[in-house]
């Protein structure tokens, strides 16, 4: 019923249950810092975390559908393994700060006023940090964002789902309170602390930095995890910061860190340098792997299926009704699914509901309901297949569009079964070359291309992929310039780094300024673009496809958007 302690240890960081990890980073040159796997297992055991957390996270693949596009089985790369890895990183991180006495007295606040109290909270938060993910996760968010179905107050689907999920773990939080009576808190308080840390709004900056910040344990582990995956995948790039010997990079990262009197995490010289390497590696992975055109081609096809399915489920009550009572489900249960018209207020005595909020809630419900189609062998691919079948069975969708969807599906299933290679699909389906537009013009480009996509929906797909920010913070907040009226957005001051150009961050340089977007602007410039591609499945070289590509390009130029065709294409 509970997850055993040994399941909390990651073999990537601790080779065995008895051999401690040694970090040679202490300031006073005394015995190296040793991190005990036994202590980690004890902490894990004491959490009393329900087994269903492990089961759920093992069903969600770390890279979503991209594993299927690479023709690899999804089992080996799931979110549970990654969550354990992240928890191990957080544990090691905290151990280093604690053992070498680097946490200033003023940085600890009740109820987490000693490092001993923080260990279980860090491990628990990092184990659960992906628990709010829905199937497809990032693809799902992209779909909603593209049709403006994300409420402006939303902090992502994770923020919407996580509190409900955590509510169902009340037994685990009660176990926590029983195991750690010295906290003198209620189980509900533990849930709120964990939720706050995961969502990025806890009021202890250095602890928040470990769990969710531009340089958190999650990023450290998923870059390692995905780099290892890439080294075994049939994809033509290799990560540069492989983190093959994880203690090597971790030692660098932890060597010159401290938590100052104000509770901020200071990354001096060597630690800042290691963080910079991590950001560079992350951006490299986004540019050459996660958002690479080779993977965007099948992603965009899947996107179209998911988008169509969600639109229909939300706006068409008859269509949703058929989903709720599928004839072939063995349990014959009728699910209560509510679409747009069921969620908005009809009577004067009901509270009016914002239409975007209504549609958003409806899609979340559908995605959670659709999980049951994933199964254990196909994960998200099984769900995608179900969506495709429901759309093709529906009478009132244009026939030529259905044929187009069928063509897309044929490409995707060939990929998943290994019948065609990714590069081959890209060469057959990506028209001419990608177009680059500045990231700040993303919204305008998307709106300008929307009617074009509708006009050619049965012939081509237009994909616009934005590169992420270098600093992936949970949220950005308004910032007013000195004496000015304009408000920009930037991250809170939680982490300190050295001043000066990025290449001047060398060992021994003191951290003296807060980390912000401005600090990494040089690195940001390299990746401040969006990539637009036109996809015609297996018809990239036809005259019609080239015509559509040309229309896309001309519409962008006529709208005043700066467009560049990608040079050296295909690579």
């Amino acid at each position: 019923m509970w997850i055993r302690g040994l399941n909390f240890r990651s073999k990537e960081y601790f080779r065995s249950a008895t051999e401690p990890l040694k970090l040679d980073i202490q300031r006073n040159q005394s015995n190296p810092i040793t991190v005990s796997p036994r202590y980690l297992e004890e902490v894990g055991e004491s959490l009393g975390l329900l087994n269903k957390v492990q089961s759920y996270l093992q069903e969600v693949s770390q890279l979503g559908l991209q594993e299927a596009w690479l023709g690899l089985p999804p089992h080996g790369h799931n979110r549970w393994d990654h969550s354990v890895g992240a928890a191990n990183v957080g544990f090691i991180w905290l151990s280093a700060l604690d053992q070498d006495k680097r946490i200033a007295r003023g940085a600890l606040r009740p109820p987490l006023d000693t490092p001993e109290k923080i260990y279980p909270v860090v491990v628990l938060s990092l184990i659960l940090h992906d628990y709010g993910h829905v199937p497809f996760s990032h693809l799902f968010e992209q779909v909603l964002e593209s049709i403006n179905w994300l409420p402006p107050t939303a902090d992502g689907s994770e923020a919407a789902i996580l509190p409900e999920r955590l509510n169902k773990l009340s037994k685990s939080f009660q176990n926590f309170v029983a195991a750690y009576r010295e906290y003198q808190v209620e189980s509900d308080d533990v849930r709120k602390i964990v939720s706050s840390l995961i969502l990025g709004n806890y009021g202890m900056p250095w602890l928040q930095a470990i769990v969710n910040s531009p340089v958190d344990a999650d990023k450290i582990d998923y870059i390692r995890y995905d780099s290892q995956f890439l080294s075994n995948a049939p994809f033509g790039i290799r990560a540069r910061l492989l983190l093959d010997k994880v203690d090597q990079w971790l030692s660098d990262f932890l060597s010159e860190q401290e938590v100052n009197h104000a509770g901020l995490l200071a990354l001096h010289g060597r630690s800042a340098r290691a963080a910079l390497e991590l950001w560079e590696e992350r951006m490299y992975l986004y540019d050459r792997f996660y958002r690479a055109p080779e993977l965007r081609v099948p992603d965009r096809m899947a996107f179209e299926i998911v988008q169509q399915y969600l639109i229909r489920c939300t706006m068409s009550k008859p269509f949703l009704g058929k989903q709720a009572s599928p004839p072939d489900v063995k349990s014959r249960v009728t699910y209560k699914l509510r679409g747009f018209t069921d969620r908005v207020a009809r009577q004067r005595d009901q509270k009016p509901v914002d239409p975007v909020e209504a549609k958003y809630r409806s899609t979340l419900e559908v995605m959670l309901w659709a999980r049951k189609y994933g199964g254990t062998s196909h994960l998200e691919f099984g769900i995608l297949k179900m969506m495709k079948e429901q759309l093709l069975q529906h009478a009132n969708i244009d026939e030529s569009f259905k044929n187009f969807l069928e063509e897309c599906w044929s490409c995707l299933s060939s990929l998943a079964e290994g019948g065609v290679e990714l590069r081959q699909l890209m060469n057959n389906s990506l028209v001419r070359q990608p177009l680059l537009v500045p990231r700040e013009q993303f919204d305008k480009a998307r709106e300008v291309l929307r009617p074009i996509q509708h006009a050619y929906c049965a012939e081509a797909l237009i994909d616009i992929a934005k590169m992420p920010r270098v600093l992936a913070a949970p949220k950005r907040y308004s910032v007013r310039s000195l004496g000015g009226e304009d408000k920009n957005q930037d991250i809170d001051y939680q982490i300190l780094v050295p001043s000066g150009p990025l290449n001047s961050w060398q060992p021994g340089k003191r951290a003296s300024q807060p980390l912000s977007d401005e600090v990494v602007s040089d690195l940001e410039k390299k990746y401040s673009y969006c990539r637009i591609i036109v996809i015609c499945p297996n018809a990239a070289n036809t005259a019609r496809a080239v015509y559509i590509w040309d229309r896309v390009r001309s519409v962008l130029i006529e709208s005043g958007i700066s467009v560049h065709a990608m040079e050296h294409w295909p690579p």
């Binding site: 049709i147 706006m315 009809r346 009577q347 009016p352 009478a395 244009d398 026939e399 009617p451």
Partner: protein, 280 residues
Amino acid sequence: MITYGIAYKVTDISRPDLDAFKVTVGYAASYPKRDPNGYIKRPEHFLFPKPTYNGFRLERFGASEVRGLLGGVSNRQRYMLSETYERAISDVITATVCEIVDGREVSCLDGIDIIILGPALPKLAGRLASLRLPRSVRVVWLCPMEFLSWIVQGVDERVVLPHYLEGPPVVEGWEEEPLVQGYRWESYFIQQLWMTYGESTVKWYEPTPHSWPSLRQVSVAIPKEIAAAAGHVQHHVKEPYKRNEKLRPIDAIKDGVNMELYQNPVATRGGDGWEIKWCV
């Protein structure tokens, strides 16, 4: 060809504790090959909150700027309000179209005309396009000129009508306007047509003698389906229909339209609306 007429009306909700508005929508259908040959859906209200605008702002009355007598001047608050209203209307109409297309027993292969009373909205055109409807479904917006007082939304719909509607009818669709084409027919109305799948030729909606009254008898010609839908939406706004209530007669004359021509003396209750036989 089955014809559906959709009408809607937007009204503010006047309560001191509630800053909201409602969209009341209804539709009527005519089935030429069936008996009874028509249907009127009982109108429904959909309530939405108005947006709140936050932030300290100074609005000074200057000495030279344009105020916006005919629209076209941006004001952040009005923009938010317009966006909220247009989004709500578009969502409600989209859900109604889905109900018509997916919920009826009649197959779309027979061909469906959906006529919406009022000007086209970009948000609605985009939503309809997202549905990937069969090509046998044609969507038309009809805007009587002058606007009928009993169907306007309390705003100047002229603001949303594109400038090209002042010119002669367009025979071929221009590729710069991929989703909606429009023109002004005589002096009676403005027609906007939803273009599907990159079509280059335009199939305008043309009235048939059966569905339109003689032009000598009325000063504004509108299809009976949207006249009936609009009339009953008006009823529902003033006093909502109850579940098993009879169909109320529509008032005799409205803005020169002889509504008696659209009366439905034969109406039987059933489900969410009434099955009817058209007089015209």
